[in-house]
Symmetry: C2
Subunit: 313 residues, 2 copies
Amino acid sequence: MREFEVISRFFDRPSANSSWIRKGIGDDGAVLTPSPGFDTVVVTDTSVSGVHFTDEQAPDSVGYRSLAVNLSDIAAMGAEPKWVTLNLTLERSEPAWLEEFAKGFFRLADASNLTLVGGDTTKGPLCITATVGGEVQSGQGLYRSGAQVGDLIVVSGHLGGAAAALASGRTSVEDSLGHAFRYPVPRLNLGKSLCGIANSAIDISDGLLPDLQHILRESGGLGALIEADNIPLFDEACRAFGSERAIELALTGGDDYELCFTMAPSNLKIVLDLERACDVRLTSIGVVKESAGLEISGFKTGALPPTGYEHTW
Amino acid sequence: MREFEVISRFFDRPSANSSWIRKGIGDDGAVLTPSPGFDTVVVTDTSVSGVHFTDEQAPDSVGYRSLAVNLSDIAAMGAEPKWVTLNLTLERSEPAWLEEFAKGFFRLADASNLTLVGGDTTKGPLCITATVGGEVQSGQGLYRSGAQVGDLIVVSGHLGGAAAALASGRTSVEDSLGHAFRYPVPRLNLGKSLCGIANSAIDISDGLLPDLQHILRESGGLGALIEADNIPLFDEACRAFGSERAIELALTGGDDYELCFTMAPSNLKIVLDLERACDVRLTSIGVVKESAGLEISGFKTGALPPTGYEHTW
């Protein structure tokens, strides 16, 4: 199959007739009109075969997930996604694989009101980069920095599911752990709603501890006390591994794509309302402290690896 | 080496203190304030080891070129580059390689007033995606569509150099052909200057003929007459291959990263002034015709492959 055929057959869909897209797929670049009074938020993530997904993984999930990991970053910035570019490096061109990949990718794109405006198709070892542009009201974006002493630390959803799926080999889509790994739900509505309410936010991609540490470090070297018993876990992970190991997977496993944010305790009622409005569980798991360092009550941290997932060479 | 060390050591440089960058490297995403009255132009290109560059190629050139191919797209849209994200998938982390790669990348970024605002570093077969954002006055962007019957067809620089370098193995940087392959110069000043003057534009990445065909097709199925003798060639390519083969390489070789644009003949004087202002040779090589099809006078086209470079599987 030829490059232009791959694009036209699987990726160049009739445009959504959005007035802000002056030029979408099919020129040297996309031309987009920003909304007045809004900042542009740009995020990008690469998924590599054999590292971020396996050969056996359903291509629908590979397509969905390569976008979801980016949308999770958009959510963590408090932004609304608008456009995406997709760079697809393919070893082979298998129409069945491409069709399923595109199905997963566009299902999430459509659900997120996101338009594919460009990309690149090249030959080589399977590797996918998606770059997503979003918008947030000028000056209203959520950053990692900004946490305040006394802030509550809140996480969305349940943690450790994807890591438990990988650790147990339960990656089938019928399994709730497998589903968490394959189809993480970017918390876009929640992220947008947190602008002006949260003091800091990050998405949990590397693991709760290392991601929370980013917040603490970038907020001026603060610390935190986490209540291990409050961390929302998957029942299946507790049954499969026992709760201690399930907590460990939640703390350092990564691949959750939930949000972790901090906010003044006085905003608690607003956030509880958001739980209903955004249809996502929100759990306060601890508090930001002045003295640097992470304390986890109710859990032996001696056995914990110092960081979560990080590529090393 | 660890992922965060790669980023902090080679890519997270003190920011240029640009007021439009609210947040650069180091959060879940970059936050950028668009200029009022301007459209955002987004381009992206992936370079794969063994396909777009070789193992032996100097990493300085790999870094430079992975950005140059994107800036050439920005130039073809008539835009001014502003920000770039860099997705680097590395098999190994060799500090010497990374340092040289970053040197080439940032040399061109600095010369183009472009700021690295984010990216992703992953482990896997060597592959580089750069995504560049630029700005163009609202509604002033250059498209492939828009060519008019009677337009002159103009190209910048000399064509076929990179293809001749690859065909002859003369890829050393001391050789002018090798230099053309390794360090193509994106025609940013020219591209910007053509807004309101050119009717259509494209950058020559796949080869003059296939790229010109994009213009003709997207301008409503027009045709063109090209004067083969007018195509600006590299003297070294003519000496190495004879002029017929040198023309063939210019027509279909690709990797030139020069601009091809069309404009009303009445703009010829303006464009000749641009030649001096932008310090780049501009050559009128033909004219846009009403009847579809590409005619090349002074050259036997029978031997030409139908298209230029395209990935096939």
